[in-house]
Amino acid sequence: MKKTGSQILLESLQLEGVDTIFGYPGGTVINIYDDLVDYQGIKHILTRHEQAAVHAADGYARATGKVGVAIATSGPGATNTVTGIATAYMDSIPMVIITGQVPTPLIGNDAFQEADMVGITRPVTKHNYLVKDIKDLARIIKQAFYIARTGRPGPVLIDLPKDVQIATTKFEYPDKVELRGYKPTYSGNIRQIEKAAKMVLAAKKPVIYVGGGATLSDCSEDLKKLAEVTQSPLTTTLMGMSSFPSRHPLSLGMLGMHGTYYANMAVTNCDLLVAIGARFDDRVTGKIATFAPHAKIIHVDIDPTSIKKNVRVDLPIVGDLRDVLQNMLKKLAEQGDAVESLVERTAPWRAEIDEWKKKHPLTYKKEKGVIKPQYVIEKIRELTNEDAIITTEVGQHQMWTAQFFEFAKPRTFLSSGGLGTMGYGLPAALGAQAAFPERQVIDISGDGSFQMNSQELATLVQYKLPVKIVILNNGYLGMVRQWQQLFFDRRYSQTPLELPIDFTKLAEAYGGTGFRAEKPEEVEAVIKKGLETAGPVIMEFRIAREENVLPMVPAGAGINEMVLAS
């Protein structure tokens, strides 16, 4: 029996195991939406903006590890997805985005709601397709899912013209993908791994530096073993945050621009840096010339382009992190005595780090009558369980969350690291909650970022997604204000958000619930009430207006040149 293009799309999604999609209808996807009525196995969540649909699919993907799927119509619907796609691309998130397109005979005519999506998204997708012939559709969908989730994951866009959705053909979903130009390397070179094990065994001051790749390859257990067996201190990037328990004795927390004193000092003084699924981003390295100046560097990554892109590497290993780590652990296990002497030899190094930890722990000053944002974060941690999924927007609240919320389990911290997209956190929380209706999902936000996608409150209420939203309200675009304070003589150009918005009323307007705290003694009660209340809740905290994120490495400085909290 022949099927239409839109039926083939929906059948294929089911065969790929997709049960939830996020999207927004329109003229060139109306056939897909019509057929969707007959496909009860696929739950569609209607967001209030296409950008939010893509962020929601992204949050869904980060929380579950599955491929997130979003759909939008042609033209403005499609261009609205671009920020979401770029966000996913920078953080290597597996996603498939379907956009409608004007009928093939009209392509290139500047037709109504036409935009060249393959052209526009080429630099922000892992790959993209324009489907010109219905006979190619099933193969392209199969390839898109395969490309999105294998190797270094990433978003793949399928631009699907309306006439191809209507055309019919016999539907056969391919079993296999054949792409002669795409063969990711999964097994690390065993001789390189042996060399790496030797370098680790010879180290005096080793540090493990972990990025988002650890989450993507689900290798938290192996990572923990490597750190524990070798007793190596471990620091993570923002993206690597929840892949290693923050409270582990070997944890150094985050490194880089707003990293801990001890993480940055450890990296600056180490003699071996084992980089695992990280890409030496400029926010991590600061001035390259003074980054880990005494260290030999081992770099494990599935993407060869990440290696030697920003820093010199002494030993590259291309492969899946889990494969490489497990083989490295095997090699180390064969050398029991050498491991023992490593642990003995590196004891003074750990003692040195403990001194740094004591000297400059992460801290903030409490002030009477003023709510400190860090205190709010600490209280949320106290009052939530370890399974809670935390999303953030971008700015000061994001850094305070990274610093003071101690993550215990993988895939519990969802944040836009690479692109730094304000407005990410709320829709991402929506997607995560759709994937895990029973878990606590909390968007920690600022008053600036929150307003970039606040319309999604409607989606939360409509689908009964009980996301809790924490707004750390300082009436500023706080991170930019902090830079203006420190580097531009306190000229607060366009950073005060002068209009005092009543966020609790906003929550009520959408059919949610709102609570506000203005004094420190109200904080705990508001969080408790907020978490206990059914449905979406906004908890607004009027915080110290000019609190800064510290430590801070000024742009262009070495990461050991930190401005510390006094």
Binding site: G119, P123, K126, L130, G181, Y182, D303, T305, K308
Partner: protein, 165 residues
């Protein structure tokens, strides 16, 4: 430093923009680019001349390899290869210079492929330096128009690209 790279790609819609977009998006140079299908019509071969230090070239080849449509990247730096550039040169040929133009063409084993009472169009093939040289010699006669393909290269020896993996 100049580098010549051959790229075997899927002969598909938009592949040229993926390659050229990669170069422009990452700030890499393209000095010349030529592309045409190979014997296997599903594969196109591009020859790109680019410049940059060793680290940049390593990134270029890695980034090219990362594209889904890229089947193989061959960097000819330090390898033995043959290289040809083709140019067509439309040059003034007044009474006083007609003989000189033909003499120069003859020295470079160049062919006259179009002729009018006031001009010759010459075809010249060779390594880029040879093409540069004839253009320099013809310049005083008054060149009206030049078109060059940019170099194409093949590795020396009996092996084809499929076998040198």
């Amino acid at each position: 430093m100049k580098h010549t790279i051959s790229i075997l790609v899927e002969n598909e819609f938009g592949v040229l923009s993926r390659i050229s977009g990669l170069f422009s998006g990452r700030g890499f140079n393209i000095e010349s680019l030529s592309v045409a299908p190979t014997l296997d019509a599903s594969i196109s071969r591009m020859t790109i001349v680019t410049s940059g230090d060793e680290q940049i070239l390593e990134q270029i080849t890695k980034q090219l390899n990362k594209l889904i449509d890229t089947i193989k990247v061959i960097d000819f730096t330090g390898q033995d290869y043959v290289e040809r550039d083709l140019a067509m040169v439309k040059v003034n040929a007044e009474d006083s210079t007609r003989a000189e133009v033909l003499r120069i063409a003859d020295i470079f084993r160049s062919k006259v492929i179009d002729v009018t009472p006031r001009s010759y169009t010459l075809e010249v093939t060779g390594a880029p330096a040879k093409v540069d040289a004839i253009i320099e010699l013809l310049r005083p006669m008054g060149i009206k128009e030049v078109v060059r393909t940019g170099p194409v290269v093949l590795g020396r020896g009996a092996k084809g690209w499929r076998s040198n993996e």
